[in-house]
């Protein structure tokens, strides 16, 4: 059990429903990934790639139907491994036509009741989450210190109010909020965005979670504040070693903080491996989407030579209209005549192309 990953997601599917198009929005459409103990997994992707929905699915926080409909989320802490979606299959019935999901019937109330039963002990305590918009995620009518204190009393063994408050101040200090004893009594509106994010981080970590999910922790903050938050996360990572799932569209943040990286596109994982293989190695060894994405970001050389950026043509995949073949085929610039037919007709699976490095691309399959 020691070597088992802390979190393992198998073929997760989370769908939503568009009334106006009478079609499924396949936000998460067969995601496989795993997070080993103590590592930071970076999840990169554009909007609509399903990265946030994957995180929310793990926490059972999906509202709106049909929601999570299939897959396994294996979470192993306290020495036992359990499926967070265990016993939920019974509430969902899936109708397929030619291998495509065409119909879903779901007992939403029953599903939610069962999910809450499983998640109650896990949410907040075992898995904590930092959200994108810190000001909106904190309760505006309660001082931040009190919010952290309550979280500590709810999720840890500390139940004494005085002790919990001291613990909260310790954490505020830990995330580098100056004069934490004074900030303890501040309401969220009295704090700047960066300060609120620090308070959110303190609250998440104060519960000593086994897994921390950070969803776009730097987005929406100013450049100078962003780098401070990244510094803080890096420091906390080296000191505490909390297992973290870091979601961001900002590749620089991911490459600084992660050990492994998952690249998502159109609701699925297209590439998965150690950060140095994916975000820094030579272009030829990567999925065409990853390499095109890296090339489209303005770097030193573009600025120096004032050359045009290498844009990815076309548009982000519409997750209602998922094609039969490779999801990136329409925008891919590395299709060769040899594999064209495969790319167009059959979706590649996520296969190992080098030790520990998996990609979903026909280029690497013989």
């Amino acid at each position: 059990m020691k070597n088992a990953p802390l979190l393992k997601i198998e073929d997760l599917r989370t769908y939503f429903y568009s009334r106006s198009k009478q079609a499924f929005i396949r936000s998460v459409d067969g995601v496989n990934l795993e997070i080993r103990r103590g590592e930071t997994l970076g999840v990169v992707g554009e909007s609509g790639s399903g990265k946030s929905i994957t995180a929310l699915s793990v926490l059972g926080l999906i509202s709106g139907g049909p929601g999570v409909i299939a897959g396994k989320i294996l979470f192993g802490s306290n020495g036992e491994q359990k499926d967070l979606l265990d016993g939920l299959e019974g509430y969902v019935k899936i109708g397929r036509e030619q291998n495509r999901i065409m119909q879903v019937s779901k007992d939403v109330l029953g599903w939610e009741r069962r999910s809450d039963e499983v998640m109650r002990t896990i949410r907040g305590g075992e898995i904590a989450m930092i959200f994108q918009n810190p000001k909106a995620s904190l309760n505006p009518f309660t001082p931040v210190g009190k919010q952290i204190t309550e979280a500590i009393r709810l999720h840890t063994k500390i139940t004494d109010a005085q002790e919990a408050a001291e613990r909260a101040i310790y954490w505020l200090k830990r995330v580098k909020i100056d004069s934490p004893a004074l900030r303890f009594d501040n309401y969220p509106f009295g704090l700047s965005g960066g300060m609120c994010q620090r308070a959110m981080i303190a609250m998440a970590l104060a519960c000593e979670p086994a897994l921390l999910i950070a969803d776009e922790p730097t987005t929406g903050l100013d450049a100078t504040i962003q780098s401070k938050i990244v510094d803080l996360l890096a420091e906390l990572k080296s000191e505490l070693g909390t297992t973290t799932m870091l979601i961001s569209h900002d590749i620089s943040v991911i490459s600084r903080l992660s050990d492994s990286v998952v690249v998502m596109y159109g609701g699925t994982v297209v590439e998965y491996g150690p950060v140095r293989d994916i975000l820094t190695a030579s272009i030829s060894s990567k999925h065409p989407y990853t390499s095109a994405l890296l090339a489209s970001i303005p770097g030193e050389e573009h600025v120096r030579d004032k050359v045009a950026l290498q844009a990815i043509e076309g548009d982000v995949l519409d997750t209602i209209n998922i094609p039969a073949g490779c999801r990136f085929y329409a925008r891919c610039n590395r299709v060769t005549p040899k594999i064209r037919e495969n790319c167009e007709r059959r979706e590649p699976d996520l296969r190992e192309i080098a030790p520990g490095h998996r990609a979903r691309c026909w280029l690497y399959f013989d």
Binding site: L191, S192, R198, A223, T224, S252, R256, A311, V316
Partner: protein, 336 residues
């Protein structure tokens, strides 16, 4: 020597907020100097980038320059003509030459109108043209912004983010402007789409000889697209010069921190320049905090390392922009 198309002289725009429940009677107001004495100029076929953190007044400058908001004081010259006090009707005519790309993708697109009608309206605002001319012009615009003809009969909500941005740009181009204020044109877009739009804006500039006032918080994009960059802090320009100089040889400590935060996010260890500013003051940034003298002093690493010289906080000697060669201007008592 290219002509100056836009000149801004000591522009100020202050907002007033009522304070408290009975302020309507007591007349007590809070003054927010969003733009506090800004001067710069923009030459034809040139791009000036405006960078700064959120709330520093960049967008307000863009809106005031186009007279979408009335300035509190100062002068705005467009083509050497003073438009500070132009009437509504005069301004309406001027809009045929100066336009704005809004940050919000949906801003310019009436949700109930088809793309064709949106473009038709824009084409016919300033010129009376025949139907044939309109369709010819629409075709030309679509080609310029690289948009498929099939999208013309769609409604805005049926388009993707990138397509909406292209329609927005086509709409702006349709009046035939010479000056475009681009307010965060890429920030609402996905990474892979941003590059398309940046390339498009650059191509259009070389094809049509446009001048851009490019407002963004994305330093890399600004550096790439701009000839000159102005760095703003709390309503003032603290440094201005050629984009390469600003990015690689900054003189103002704030500019230095701004650009090194970009590099630092990637590199595994933080650079020494920002290390010594890791104290708690770093989240503080707003107009309400009283300052005297240099407004950056409370966050300034140089101020600390110089042993807090009094000249920095002397209200009588707020640093002004001064030229240090090659049109590079900096407002600091102790430039790096």
């Amino acid at each position: 020597m290219p002509k100056t198309i836009l000149e801004v002289i000591d522009l100020k725009k202050h907002f007033f907020h009522r304070k408290g429940l009975f302020s309507a009677f007591s007349g007590e107001e809070r003054r927010i100097p969003a733009v506090d004495g800004v001067s710069f100029y923009l030459k034809e076929n040139e791009t000036v980038g405006l960078v700064g953190e959120s709330g520093c007044g960049k967008t307000t400058i863009g809106r005031t320059v186009l007279r979408l908001a009335a300035p509190t004081s100062g002068r705005i010259l467009f083509d050497d003509k003073d438009i500070t006090t132009a009437t509504t009707e005069q301004l309406r005519k001027l809009r045929g030459q100066m336009q704005m790309i809004f940050q919000d993708l949906d801003a310019a697109l009436n949700p109930k109108m088809r793309i064709r009608d949106i473009l038709r309206e824009a084409i016919t605002v300033h010129h009376k043209v025949s139907d044939e001319e309109v369709s010819r012009r629409i075709g030309e615009l679509l080609e310029q912004v690289n948009l498929k003809k099939g999208k013309l009969s769609n409604f805005p909500h049926e388009l993707s983010g990138g397509e909406k941005r292209r329609v927005g740009i086509a709409r702006v181009l349709s009046v035939g402007p010479r000056l475009i204020v681009a307010d965060e044109p890429t920030s609402a877009l996905d990474v892979s789409i941003q590059a398309q739009v940046v390339n498009l804006l650059r191509d259009l500039q070389s094809q049509l000889g446009l001048s851009y006032l490019f407002i963004s918080h994305d330093l890399r994009v600004v550096e790439l697209i701009s000839h000159k960059v102005a760095v703003m802090y709390l309503g003032k320009i603290v440094e201005m010069g050629l984009s390469g100089r600003i990015a690689h040889a900054p003189k103002h400590p704030y500019t230095h921190i701004l650009w090194s935060s970009l590099v630092e996010k990637q590199s595994k260890e933080s650079s020494s320049a920002t290390r010594n500013t890791q104290s708690g003051i770093w989240g503080v940034f707003d107009f309400e905090r009283p300052y005297s003298g240099c407004r950056f002093a409370p966050r300034c690493p140089v101020y600390e390392s110089q042993g807090r010289p009094t000249v920095c906080t002397d209200p009588a000697s707020e640093p002004q922009l001064r030229d240090i060669g090659d049109g590079h201007q900096v407002a600091c008592h102790f430039p790096l």
